[in-house]
Each structure stands twice: as C-alpha cells, then as structure tokens.
Subunit: 343 residues, 2 copies
Amino acid sequence: MRRAVEPPLALTMGEPAGIGGEIALKAWLRRADDVPPFFVIDEPERLRARARALGMDVPVRAVEGPEGVAARFADFLPVLPHAVPAPVEPGNPNPANAAAVMAAVERAVALARAGRAAGLVTNPIHKRCLYDAGFAHPGHTEYLAALAGGGARPVMMLVGGTLRVVPVTVHLSLREAVDVLRGDAIVTSGKVVDVALRVDFGLAAPRLAVAALNPHGGEDGALGREEIEMIAPAVADLRKAGVTVSGPAPADSLFHEAARKTYDAVLCMYHDQALIPLKTLSFHEGVNVTLGLPFVRTSPDHGTALDIAGTGRADESSLLAALRLARDIARSRRSHADRRRTA
Amino acid sequence: MRRAVEPPLALTMGEPAGIGGEIALKAWLRRADDVPPFFVIDEPERLRARARALGMDVPVRAVEGPEGVAARFADFLPVLPHAVPAPVEPGNPNPANAAAVMAAVERAVALARAGRAAGLVTNPIHKRCLYDAGFAHPGHTEYLAALAGGGARPVMMLVGGTLRVVPVTVHLSLREAVDVLRGDAIVTSGKVVDVALRVDFGLAAPRLAVAALNPHGGEDGALGREEIEMIAPAVADLRKAGVTVSGPAPADSLFHEAARKTYDAVLCMYHDQALIPLKTLSFHEGVNVTLGLPFVRTSPDHGTALDIAGTGRADESSLLAALRLARDIARSRRSHADRRRTA
C-alpha cells in the first residue's frame, strides 16, 4: 500500500557556481508537468536573488524540514537552508565551499534514510574543485557508497527513455578501462542490475544484454580475446546465478530500435560504449541513477556547465527526468517492500 | 555536363554462399524506387535458380558487357557471367571459390577504371574463407588499394542518412586500436575526407569534427593524455592545412540531433566509436564507402549473413543505399571534373 502522502524528494545544491540553482528554479516552474514535490538543500537568499535576476517568478521559501512540503509544493519552492561559507560567483567554483557542497549531500542521505525524503536527486558537482579542497572521493557515487556503509556496491546506470545502460568500467582512460576490465566486475554489476530491474523498475522477468569489448564482438578471437576469455564466461556465470542474460554481442548492433526491444538493460564494457548510444538517442533527457544503495539516488546526466552558469540558458529536462525517475524508483521500492511484508 | 547515358554500376557477387545474390535480386525488384542501373558479376544460372526457388519474378539475362545495360535495366537483371569452380551451398562458404570471388572484384575495378562502369558496389565477402584460401589482403578495402596502385590511401567512411563517420583505426582489437592510434593517421585521414567531401559529396565548404578517444574528452588529462598529446595537435595540423575542423570533442556529445548539424563528417578514433552511433541511427541503411581511390566504390554495411543465406529473409535496404550513393558519388566526381575542365 502507498502512504497517503509520499515524502518529497531532496534536491542537493551541487556546485553553487554551476547551473544547479537555475535548473532547480526552472524545474519548479514546470511543476504542473508531472513533477514530483521536492525541496532544495541550499541557500534560500541566493536562489531568490537568482530567480529575480533571471526574471523567474519563483516564490522561494525556507522550510525547517521536509514535513508538509509536498502538500504546499504548488505554492512555493521549499528550501532547507544550507549555507556555504564563501561568496558564490557563477562560473567560478570556490574550493572554500566544497565541504558545504558535500555536507548537503550528507544531509540529503540522512533525510532519505530516515524516511523523511523519498530519495535524493543530486545536482552536479565540480570534481576538480573538490579535489583541490582535498576531498577524498572522486565522485558522488563513491561518496554515497561510503555514506551507505555496509559494503554497498554502487552501480551507475544511465537511463534515457526506455534505454538503460550500465558501464562496468567508468571514469578511466580508454586504455585503463581495457586494462582493468575483469569478469568478476561484469558478474557483480550484472547481479546488482538484475535485482534493481526487479525492485527499482518493477520488472518481473528482467532481461540483460552484455556488450562485447572489441569490434564485431572480437570475431572469434581475431579482433581480441576478451570476449572468449572473460566476457562469455562472465555471462555464463550470470546465467548460472539465475540472471536472464544474452551476449556478448557486437556493441554496434545493440542499440538500434529493434535491438532495444530485446533487453531491459545493457552492461557496457566502458564509459563511451554506454554513453554514446544513450546521448545519441536522449541527449537532454538522460538520467544517472545509482543502483545498489539502501536509498534512492538519481542525478541529471550533465555537468556543472560553468560556461553558461548564471545566464539562465541551462536546460532543466535532465533534472526533470531525474526527479520523475527518483519518484518512480521510490514507489517501486515501497511497493516491492509492501508485497514482501504481505507475502 | 553529364553524359546522355551514364554507365551502369558493377555489383560484385561477393561470397556466393552468402546473401549477396538474394539482395541483388531484391534490389532489382525495387528498380522503380530510384535504383540506378547496375549489372551483377556472377553466375546467371545460379541467380536464376535462386530467384525461382524464392518465388521472385526476376528475368535474369547474361550480357557481354556493361554497354546498353542501362537502357534495358527495367526489363531484366543483367549479369556479366563469372563462374565459380565449386558448387555453392548457401550458408557454407567454400575456399575453393575464393579466388573467383576476388577475381569478380578485379573485373569490376577494370570496368570502372575503363569508364565502362560508373563505379563498383561490392557484395560482402567472407574473410575467414579468404584467409583459409591464402588470400593476402585482410579485406576489400586493402585489396582495392592494391588494385588502385600508386600509393592510394583508402579511407573507410560509413554513411547513414546524413551522418558520415570515419574510423581512423579499423579492424583491430580495442586495445590494439588504442596502441596504434597516431596523430599522422588522423591528419592523413582528415585530408582525404576533406577532399572527398568536396569532390565526392559536392560540399563547397566541408566541416570536419574529430572525436576524443577518452571519456569526457580526457578531462584535461585526468582521464587520458591522448587528446593533449596526439589528437589536439593533429587537429591543429589539419587546420594549418586548410581543413575546417573542430575537436577533439567528447564522443558521447557528438551524435545527437543538434550536434550532427555542426559538421559534415566525424573522424572517430576506433571502430565502435564510429559504428555505434551510425548503426544506432541507421541500422539497415548504412553504407560503407572507400574514399581516396581512383574509382567509385561502395558496399552494403553488413556481412554475408550466412545464418539466413538462401532463406530470402535478407534485407536489401543497405544495398539499395550503397547503389544510390555510388551513383551520386560518380555524378559528383564527373561534375567536379567537368568544372575543372571548363575552369
């Protein structure tokens, strides 16, 4: 059973010198367009000033917590106050604010884990700025895994329309990706994705596809042996573990319209193998979702866009898709938990 | 000025155990659909038998040469007889026929170079079968370069709708592609593509884009240094040589609809970087064209499809696109040559 009122989603500030604030304001203006209620963890004054500067009619109101926010979301943009120490200049991230940026993520996680937020949607952060500030984790996903604790195995999935892709190796040079790719990572990711398709996406019988690493799927070893020695055995292991899975298949034949109907998600061997088809088909509507965490987390699939920050030109489509997907996953998880309780 | 009657295109048999014959028959049945006149270099009897077996109403007629073929193409499918020594069994290539298969290509080249054919369209060959027969060249493209002689620098381009992609490295494992990628190959390919866009595609001011090798374009060196050390310098060299070129750009942001309007062709660093977006967008209509040869050559962008050979299920769309593109390139080359003569 669904609760009478679902808790709202927590939207983190992200890099305040980026476009996060602007797309949050724009998303609220689209609130009649199937946008789930959310609150921003950020500075109300700065958001208010930004709305005014950009001529957006957004009543920004500070709130003390998520409670009651959903019912009044139509009337104002709720902001849970969260200060940054240094002044914010659009386009110029300040490492002095990095700790506060990540503390906003930590607050969102705490609210989600307490059931006070349905999940978190994270605005983009500026990695170099966080590195410069001595931040230990290379990205959101790793930080969230650390916050989740208990050996959480976060897996990044990108969703665009009906296409779901999972890069098994992520932020590495292409050479390093080829070097570090291992069968057990394919198996681990595949298992996490299989569970997530059931619990988070509500699919009763999910089908995975696995992409080959090499062109033409390696052509029986003539164009690389990873398919034979690593990927096909990983597919066999997944099958033994009860996962419905096909592949390894030549990556260039996996993403046309007819092919996309034969699976529910694709395990890709490297970043661009996943991101090229996703962004070719859904450039503005891609969503990044972290699977395998004990709380719901999505993110728009773009960066801080420092070059256009402050101009009002940023496109809110990806954030809207991220908010809707977070809501859908939260609902699917609740419904899954309810079924287990009553079973 | 265009000649009163353009010569027909020469279509090679390709692997006779594959789908080449069937798609040739199907292409002729579509002849009213903007299909340029062509003749097949193959065995008339076998094609006739195949048409009968598949219930296709195609009058196959042996011809002595390309002359007069274009005017009568509406009435019959012209076939320039070219025998293979061993019996042909659909789905089972016989290395005993490999030499004859490649001799058909050689005949097509000779006819094209003599101006008796407007160009050649090559049906797919079976590489393993050619290897087994001791054939020295790994594929059509290399063989055609050898036939062209004179240091021809063939460059493979894939065309699907308005998208044109050029893989700078081709049939290599992904690891080898990363290993062998060199700036001078990018520069050489870029120059060939720039000329081809003018001469073969009739573009007065072509624009090239160059894809990055690493995710996020290498993120200023954090995810690989090839962009900084190799690709950006190659782009600068191309620019110095008068080529209008942009990049290196993150590959996942190059292929969505708006991005595709900013260039006329993309130089890609490896096979799947080019083929994933092309086949995602144009799975059945992709065409392989060899640039930099002294004759026109295109090919359907698929293999011999041995698994469905003889069933009549093969899709002729890519062959039709290859025939039309060969005609268009031949016309563009003639018109370019005419302009140079009258200038």
